[in-house]
């Protein structure tokens, strides 16, 4: 095995630092909620639909409470009270509260116990929807042969969901195990989830519940046709992180891009908001049996992949610790990293393999999500294809679990049908040609690969100690990750955060935390 030496005591120390960091975050999380979280609750309990302007019911409802400064009680409270007061369903309750002349200002009213009870059916139905999807997935997977790792993950991103469906089937034909529909550039910053099927997006296609269904159907068809489970994935990220987690859970998505800090660093979303949202989204994902993919790969597009390799590892420990606090099993925590070292650097291949192997070993029970070269890709599609070949080789050699396949047109456009086909063809070849390479290699004692792995782990350890000391809030302000600095109260969406009031009601979260 191409093992690198991993000092387990350093790894344990890293985990201890990460645990302390996560505990600190969790203290904050447990005392706050957000508009996104409450919309998720509303949707889960049944507040579906949108008005004729496309504004979702959940948004109108929650915004009203936020504007009134009452969100800290939990949106479930007015909903439950409305039920007790005779609303026929959560939806009706929500509509009344959203569109009625006045909202329930949560003055004296039904006893909390009664309110809770009134929400039991809806809560049970919500959980059943998640559990049903999970059972369905497990049954389908059990009926098909297991996929061989690295799983071949490709993106589709036409902007038009129907073209995406065509491309999904095409990707499966060519051997894809996982299909991700990339989101439109603007979606992360939208503080609502659009409704219905969509056919116009820049840089990707909107994530909507209907779009999820369309792709799920295409992927299921392909699974049947090719006798291989075709996984579907999307983004539980941005201002609607938790809502999308919910939609993904009930529409049987298999994976979700979900990271504790991506939104902060790359979308300039407020950190308070993000930390709360990520927690709730992960609680849902945990129950749903979905595998998350974290986004540390992105760090290496803004920071240097050689100098800042350790920040990826450090962040993975933090993402892991936070994920554990949200109830995710190790097998659900797909940790992201990437092949982003400048190809002009001598021995870049050795540095990449050291990092990939290190991550593989440190997180040996986790699915590792391995991302291709992107930053140093140019419009020379031929050369780009070669960069991906080396990337594929490292992927199979170091037994990465989920490999997002590089595209030779990376620097040009979202992948065309042909680009994706050729990428899969190349990956299939490399994975097979070097199938057991990892089993055969041993690294020279004290050599470049070993040294690099040791160095990166050491640096990650030091960084984690520092982050623990300063707290993560401060570390992010100072640019510890991705060379990006964000202030605690800056960024988008901070206004959507609310401190939980005593008696905060959230039966969904309670059930998920139980």
């Amino acid at each position: 095995m191409a093992q690198v030496p991993v000092d387990e005591s350093v790894v344990s120390a890293c985990r201890r630092h990460a645990a302390a960091i996560a505990d600190d975050v969790q203290t904050y999380v447990d005392r706050h909620t957000t508009v996104g979280v409450e919309r998720t609750v509303a949707r889960a309990l049944g507040a579906l639909g949108a008005d004729d302007q496309g504004a979702p019911l959940a948004n109108v409802l929650v915004d009203r409470y936020q504007a009134a400064g009452l969100l800290g009680h939990g949106i479930a409270l007015p909903l439950g009270r409305a039920l007790v007061r005779g609303a026929a369903s959560v939806r009706e309750a929500a509509e009344r509260l959203a569109y009625g002349p006045d909202i329930d200002l949560l003055g004296p009213g039904p006893a909390l116990g009664e309110v809770r009870r009134s929400l039991e059916t809806a809560t049970a139905a919500a959980l059943a929807a998640i559990d049903g999807a999970r059972t369905d997935r497990e049954a389908r997977k059990a009926a098909l042969p297991p996929a061989r790792e690295p799983l071949r993950y490709v993106i589709v991103a036409t902007g038009n969901i129907y073209d995406d469906a065509t491309q999904t089937r095409a990707a499966a034909f060519a051997g894809a195990d996982i299909v991700a529909v990339i989101r439109a550039t603007a979606q992360s910053l939208l503080d609502y989830v659009p409704e219905g099927p969509t056919t116009e997006g820049f840089g990707g296609t909107f994530a909507t519940q209907e779009n999820f269904r369309i792709i799920r159907r295409a992927a299921d068809e392909a699974s049947r046709e090719y006798g291989r489970y075709v996984h579907q994935t999307n983004y539980s990220s941005g201002l609607c992180m938790a809502e999308i987690a919910w939609m993904g859970a009930v529409e049987r998505l298999d994976m979700l891009l979900n990271d504790a800090m991506y939104g902060i660093l790359f979308r300039d979303i407020n950190m308070c908001r993000t930390f709360v949202d990520q927690y709730v989204s992960r609680r849902i994902v945990a129950r749903a049996g979905i595998v998350i993919n974290t986004g540390e790969d992105n760090y290496l597009t803004t920071a240097d992949a050689v100098e800042k390799a350790h920040t990826v590892l450090a962040s993975q420990f933090i993402n892991e610790a936070l994920a554990h606090r949200a109830g995710l099993a190790d097998a659900q925590i797909g940790l992201g990293h990437a092949y982003e070292i400048d190809p002009r650097i001598e021995d870049s291949f050795l540095l990449e393999i050291a990092q990939a192997q290190l991550v593989r070993q440190v997180f040996d029970r986790h699915p590792i999500k391995w991302m291709p070269p992107t930053k140093h890709k140019t419009g020379d599609i031929f050369q780009s294809h070669v960069q991906d070949a080396l990337f594929n080789l490292v992927g199979v050699t170091t037994r990465q679990s989920i490999e997002l396949l590089g595209m030779f047109s990376e620097a040009v456009h979202n992948p065309l049908l042909m680009d994706r086909y050729l990428s899969l063809k190349a990956a299939n070849y490399v994975f097979s040609a070097a199938r057991h390479l990892g089993e055969e290699i041993e690294w020279r004692r004290g050599g470049r690969v070993e040294q690099r792995a040791r160095q990166v782990l050491g640096e990650a350890h030091a960084l984690l100690g520092e982050v623990e000391r300063r707290t993560i809030w401060d570390a992010i302000e100072r640019g510890a990750f991705a060379d990006v600095k964000r202030t605690r109260h800056g960024g988008k969406g901070y206004a959507g955060v609310a401190a939980r009031e005593p008696g905060y009601l959230n039966p969904l979260l309670e059930a998920l935390e139980a």
């Binding site: 991103a157 038009n160 599609i381 047109s409 620097a411 040009v412 992948p415 065309l416 049908l417 042909m418």
Partner: protein, 247 residues
């Protein structure tokens, strides 16, 4: 699809009708903003709309290599395409041998070669020799064929003479080197020679190689053409259909 109903196809990138194609080429000038514009116009001349020059790199002094993507304005009407296709029913090994035995009552004599200065034997060997191709045994392995594989670098005249001497029913010609169309010249010259010598009639003349297809072979005066990926059994079936009559 009914062959006469017009059916216009455009290239497909990732949306129906987007016409996206990729074009790469070298122009004899050094890289510059002007060169980029030249590449763009060159692409436009091919009918690419909104061409995007994704790469411009000096590949030699005074030469620049370009990759361009663009939306092709062109379409192709597939309903109007009539291509001669070899569509004989594939026969099993037993059927082949059986039909030859019952309908011809003797072996079919085959003479094969890779002609001219072409030294590529792998293709013709794959068809004729016992070993065959991709698990499909060669014609030598059939009871019904008597195979004479003359190898490579065989001059047309020598091939014609041997075919006559051996009483060939069919002659199988392979051409792999195609630079400046020498395969076409070689092929046409053989047909001409055989015709001139009065050998062409009654002879089944097959042409094969990585750049051969049925259409080209017919144009050159052969009876059939076989391209890349041909299996010996494809050839066996064709020969039986030709030489033993249809079912």
């Amino acid at each position: 699809m009914h062959p006469t109903e017009p059916k216009l196809l455009r290239a497909y990138g990732d949306r129906d009708g987007d016409g996206m194609v990729q074009l790469s080429f070298t122009l004899p000038l050094p890289p510059s903003a002007r060169a980029r514009e030249a590449a763009r116009r060159f692409a436009e001349a091919h009918g690419l709309h909104e061409p995007h020059v994704t790469t411009m790199e000096a590949c030699a002094e005074g030469f620049t290599y370009f990759v361009v993507y663009g939306h092709s304005r062109h379409s192709v009407d597939v309903s109007r395409i009539e291509v001669p296709e070899l569509k004989e029913q594939p026969l099993t090994r037993d059927e082949v041998d059986q039909r030859i035995k019952t309908r011809l009552g003797r072996k079919i004599v085959l003479v094969g070669a890779c002609t001219g200065s072409d030294a590529h034997t792998v293709g013709i060997d794959a068809i004729l020799n016992y070993k065959g191709y991709a698990g499909d045994k060669g014609l030598e392995s059939y009871k019904g064929f008597e195979v004479h594989n003359l190898g490579a670098q065989v001059e047309n005249a020598a091939l014609a003479a041997r075919a006559l001497a051996l009483g060939a029913d069919a002659v199988l010609v392979s051409q792999v080197v195609t630079q400046r169309n020498c395969h076409k010249e070689n092929g046409a010259a053989l047909v001409e020679l055989l015709t001139r010598k009065g050998q062409r009639d009654g002879l089944v003349l097959l042409f094969g190689g990585p750049r051969i297809d049925h259409k080209l072979a017919l144009e050159l005066g052969f009876d059939a053409g076989f391209g890349p990926g041909t299996k010996p059994s494809d050839v066996a079936s064709f020969l039986v259909h030709r030489l033993c009559g249809e079912a």
